[in-house]
Symmetry: C2
Subunit: 293 residues, 2 copies
């Protein structure tokens, strides 16, 4: 059993050192701070069992490669650091946040190849949305996509998503979904989005407009296990036969969405298939507690 989470001394990792979170600093000329020149991952851990840790670390490696940063540690060493970071913090259920930036250099767009990348790890409580939220129903709005053209890279250039979330907050909904120019659903600011259309699970195909979510993969795999057909294709909210809408992310698991832009989805309450997928996913989280990696 870990120390009580009432004792909130948090520990972070910055460039080969563990230290109290409040002392965890980076230089003001870190390219992560001046150019959004970095990538990140968020990994869920339930009682010491990690959800798809290898998949997250592999994606971190791919994100680094996409922007030509050399990951400063081997995947094995990173895995060990994630586990150390988890154990140095008080939460049983935690989000482990990992960020890699190109490093520190006098400000210039041009990359100096001699730079040493910055590696940061933090650990925070993972409060999955409560059953109350689930019952009253998650709401979303849609926005025209204003983001850049490489959303497949999990970069820290997240200002567009921050602005989307601010707009969602102004509209008193939980998430904003990005639409392409033809009003096809892409993904949310921090979620992937699915629909149930004529009993088929539908979600946008992987391309440069969406992130290949690890939880998205899990939703697809669970749906297939249940015998559902899965289609990865462009889709719209007003498609005939659409009965449910779902969003997924590490911190949301899979979550039924009951209304979008003030319009009820289906009966306006969490749908049967979404609830089933969520229950299965939460079962997997429970199993992680008993089968630590």
């Amino acid at each position: 059993m870990k120390q009580s989470s009432a004792n909130l001394q948090l520990t972070a990792y910055v460039n080969d050192k563990f230290l109290p979170l409040e002392q965890a600093m980076v230089h003001i000329e870190d390219r992560g701070f001046q150019f959004a020149d970095g990538v990140y991952e968020v990994v869920a851990c339930f009682g010491g069992g990690y959800l798809d840790l290898d998949a997250h670390l592999q994606r971190l490696e791919r994100s680094c490669a996409a922007i030509e940063i050399v990951l400063p540690k081997s995947l094995e060493a990173l895995k060990d650091l994630v586990q150390q970071a988890y154990h140095k913090n008080p939460y049983e259920d935690a989000m482990v946040y990992i960020q890699v930036t190109r490093g520190v250099a006098p400000r210039s767009h041009v990359v100096n190849q001699a730079m040493q990348p910055t590696l940061v790890i933090t650990v925070r409580d993972l409060p999955l949305p409560s059953d109350t939220k689930l019952r009253t129903g998650v709401k979303a709005c849609t926005l025209k996509d204003i983001r850049w053209k490489h959303c497949e890279i999990k970069s820290i250039a997240l200002l567009a998503s921050v602005m989307g979330k601010q707009e969602a907050s102004r509209r008193e909904v939980d998430e904003a979904f990005w639409l392409d120019e033809k009003n096809h659903m892409l993904e949310g600011c921090a979620t992937n989005v699915f629909a149930i259309i004529d009993g088929v699970l539908v979600t946008h195909a992987l391309d440069h407009q969406i992130l290949g979510g690890i939880t998205r993969d899990m939703v697809i795999s669970l749906a297939k296990d249940l015998g559902f057909v899965v289609q990865q294709r462009p889709w719209k909210l007003d498609e005939k036969g659409l009965t449910e809408c779902l969003m997924s992310s590490t911190t949301n698991a899979v979550m039924p969405v009951c209304a979008v832009d003030g319009q009820a989805i289906g009966a306006g309450v969490p749908g049967e298939i979404g609830l089933k997928l969520r229950a299965l996913m939460l079962e997997q989280f429970e199993e992680l507690r008993h089968a630590k990696v």
Copy 2:
């Protein structure tokens, strides 16, 4: 006379404190580091005379407003801090870099309104491109625009521009220019771009696809003073009558571009109008040395 620039003890400003640059840090949960949730300005100073300092600070205020950050100081107080920062550093000709981020908070896209913004100022040497570079000629390449849809905001979400500059570097050219879907010229990774077409100065009109450069304004104003017609409209590199190409930025002033994508512009040497505009601008820089603001 300032201290010799051989003595390279640099001083930075971070949240109400001046301190040695190497000790200038921000917290790893600063939203500038985790979300690119901030904006910036680069101001040139020649011997203590600032180039359009008020215009830069006003744009900083507009950028903050666009992403709903409250500038943590009045423009007067900021101006004073910029001057203090300049005087605490060894350079006669300097770039003063000012960055504002939303502040520090446990990582979440959603904005906690109680945050205190972070304000950072650094001062670096301003080496205007040498005459050699000017004679051999600046080269550029073009790339399809991959950036977000709010390039009018001078945000620190600059990863796309970093990638553009990396591509330029791979192609052994000095700058990459972004083209829209119809191959219209937008702007460079860190410059605005102009053409001389049939003796008219042409540049893309201000919209969400380009930054309203302070040096861009200066180029337009100088050209008008010289009696040139100025058109702000979509244009292409292969337009009939195009004889010169220019780029502008605080650190480049205005610079003739001699080749784009390996094709010579005009005679492949700096054009007459570009050189004239550059000479006039450098004269203004010289005047600043003698008429400090």
